[in-house]
Symmetry: C2
Subunit: 335 residues, 2 copies
C-alpha cells in the first residue's frame, strides 16, 4: 500500500520556502479565500457572519502507520474526517488550515503526497473547499493537525441536542467497514499481504474514508432535528445525542440488519461472522457515517437509512430493541 515515503530530498536539506514551493501547487484551492498563503494569516469569507470550525490531530503510530497507509491516504483521511465534522453541523465545508510536523529526514515527496491526498479529498467530497494556510514544524513522527471551516448559509447549526421523542433515527454512509478493515490490516503479515489487503473495500474505508459530506446540508434543509459524525462508534455516539437531547435511542433489528447488509458480502468473504459484523456496525469507530434524527412525518432524503426511534429518556441511553446496549468505545489514550 505505502509507496510514496521514500524518494529523494529530505526536509532538512531544503529551505522552508523551497519546501512550500513544492507543496503549494498541489493543494486544493478554496473559493472562500479572500487572502491566501503568504502573510501571517489568511482571510476567509464567512458570508452569513458566522463560521463553523472543528479541529482534528492525527499522529503516526496511534492514528496511522506507514505500513498500512500511503502518504496520500493520510492526507485524504485527515481532510475527510474534518470535513465530516463540518458536515454534521449541517454546513458546507469552505476551507482548511493544515499544520504538519515531520522529522527532518522526511522526504519532501511525502509532503507532496499528503498535499495530493488533501486535494483529492476536497475534490471528491467538498469541491469548493481548499487549504488557506498552514504551518511546518519538526516533530519526532509525522503529525497532522487540520482545522476545517464551514458555512451555514443562514441556517441554524445541527447539534446533538435537538433529538425529540418520536423522531426517526437515520444514518447515511457505512457503519462497521472501517473497523473490520482495521482488523484485516492488523491480521496481515508482511508487505505483500499489506499490499493485497490494502486494496479491499473494507480496508479502503479505514485508510481513505468517504464520508457523505453533502448529506449534512441535505439533512439540515430537510428538517433533521439532530446530527453527528460517527467517529467513536454508533452506540457511544448515539449515547452522546441521547445525553445532550435528554432522550433515549432505540435501534431496531431491521435497521441494524440493513446497515450490516451494506458490508456483509465483503465481510463474510473475509471470514467475519454475522454476529461480528453486527458488533462492528454497533461499536467500531472511524466510520464517519452521519447519524441523524428526523421528525417521524418527514420522508427521509435519499441516502439515509432508518435504524430506530427516539424515545423519552429511559433507564439507559441506548437500546437494541428491548435490550440496553453497553456504552463503550474509543478513548484516544488507550488504543
Amino acid at each position: 500500500v505505502a509507496s510514496d515515503f521514500e524518494n529523494g530530498v529530505s526536509l532538512g536539506e531544503m529551505a522552508e520556502a523551497d519546501v512550500l514551493a513544492r507543496i503549494f501547487p498541489r493543494l486544493p484551492e478554496s473559493t472562500s479565500t479572500l487572502l491566501g498563503p503568504g502573510d501571517d494569516a489568511a482571510v476567509v469569507a464567512a458570508p452569513d457572519g458566522r463560521f463553523v470550525v472543528t479541529t482534528d490531530m492525527m499522529v503516526e503510530g496511534p492514528d496511522f502507520r506507514r505500513e498500512f497507509s500511503s502518504a496520500e491516504d493520510i492526507g485524504f483521511k485527515i481532510a475527510a474526517v474534518n470535513l465530516a465534522d463540518v458536515a454534521a453541523m449541517g454546513a458546507t465545508p469552505t476551507a482548511l488550515v493544515v499544520a504538519l510536523g515531520a522529522p527532518a529526514e522526511t522526504d519532501v515527496a511525502v509532503l507532496e503526497s499528503i498535499a495530493d491526498g488533501l486535494r483529492l479529498a476536497c475534490e471528491s467530497l467538498a469541491p469548493s473547499c481548499g487549504v488557506v494556510g498552514g504551518d511546518l514544524s519538526s516533530a519526532p513522527v509525522l503529525t497532522l493537525s487540520v482545522t476545517a471551516f464551514g458555512d451555514l448559509a443562514g441556517r441554524e447549526p445541527l447539534t446533538r441536542s435537538g433529538a425529540r421523542p418520536g423522531d426517526v433515527i437515520a444514518v447515511a454512509g457505512e457503519l462497521g467497514a472501517a473497523g473490520i478493515g482495521l482488523e484485516m490490516l492488523f491480521a496481515a503479515e508482511g508487505p505483500d499481504e499489506f499490499s493485497q489487503v490494502g486494496q479491499n473495500p473494507l480496508t479502503r474505508a479505514q485508510l481513505r474514508p468517504h464520508p457523505p459530506i453533502a448529506l449534512g446540508v441535505t439533512a439540515a434543509v430537510t428538517g433533521a432535528t439532530a446530527a453527528m459524525d460517527v467517529s467513536d462508534g454508533l452506540v457511544l455516539d448515539a449515547s452522546r445525542i441521547a445525553k445532550a437531547s435528554g432522550v433515549s435511542m432505540v435501534f431496531d433489528e431491521l435497521g441494524i440488519a440493513q446497515c450490516a447488509a451494506q458490508i456483509a458480502v465483503e465481510a463474510l468473504k473475509q471470514g467475519f461472522s454475522d454476529d461480528e459484523i453486527v458488533e462492528h456496525v454497533l461499536y467500531s469507530g472511524e466510520s464517519h457515517a452521519l447519524l441523524t434524527t428526523f421528525p417521524i412525518d418527514q420522508v427521509l432524503p435519499l441516502g439515509f437509512t432508518p435504524i430506530g426511534t427516539v424515545i423519552a429518556q429511559a433507564a439507559e441511553p441506548v437500546y437494541f430493541g428491548n435490550r440496553p446496549l453497553p456504552i463503550r468505545g474509543w478513548n484516544p489514550f488507550s488504543y
Copy 2:
C-alpha cells in the same frame, strides 16, 4: 522553572470525558462563541462576513523542553504566538481552537496547566478571545497545534505587500530578548541553574512572550501600509516584506541602537557584548515584535519605534545604513 509536570492521574487512566471535564473550566471563554464545545464543531461570530485565520504547531523537543518551560508557559506561548499572527493582520483576536497530542502517561495536571497558560495569555493579551473547540490525541511527545481567528471590523487586512518607498519602518515590542534568553537557558546546567535563569526577564521573553497584540489594530487604524509578526528574525522577516512589496528596507543606526537599548541593561549584566546584542536584535527569532511600515507623514502611534526607511527596490532586500545585511534565519528542520 518546570514544576507542573508530575502530580497524580495520567491521561491513559481516565475516560476522555473526565479529562475534558477537568480542562474545560480552566479554558478562556470567547465572547464570539455562538455554539461552544459539545458538538462536532463550534460556531463562531464573524461580524463583518470574513475571518482572519492562522495556525501554529509546537512540538516538545524542537519547540520547547520540559527542563526550561512549565506546562503553563507552554500553553501561554502557543496562544501568544498565534495571537501575534492575528494582530499582525490588523485584526482583533476572537477565538482559538486547540489540538493537543500527549503520551498516555502524561499527568492530567499537565493539561490543566496548559489550559491555565492559554487562559492567562488570552486574559493578558486579548481579553475577548477564548478557546471554542479542540481535540485530544495520543502522541509520542507533547504536541500543541493552535488555530487562531480574528475580526477585521470592516478594515482591509494589513499584509506584507503594502510597503512603499519613503515609508518609515517601525517596530513595536522587543527584539532580541527571546534569542538571548534561549542562549542563557542552553548555557544553564542542572535544575537549580534552570530555575534561577528561568526568572530572568530575557528568558521570560523566550518562555512566555508578551507580543503587543493590541497594537496590531492600532497600526491598522493609524494607516500602517504593511505589517508582520517578527518570528524568524528581524532581517529575514524584513526581507519578506521587501520581497512581497517590491522594495528594499534600510535600517538606521539610531533605530537599531534604540531596540538594543531596550534589552541592553539586562543583557550586558549577563555578559553579552554590545555587538552580540545588536546581532540578536537583527537576527534572533521568536521575538514576536510587530514589524510595520507607515507613511512618512504619519505620527507614529505610542509604542512604535522608528528603525529605518523603505526605499525603492535596490540590489539587496535589507540594508543597515549602506551595508547590505545577509539574509539568514530560522528553518524549522535545521534547529
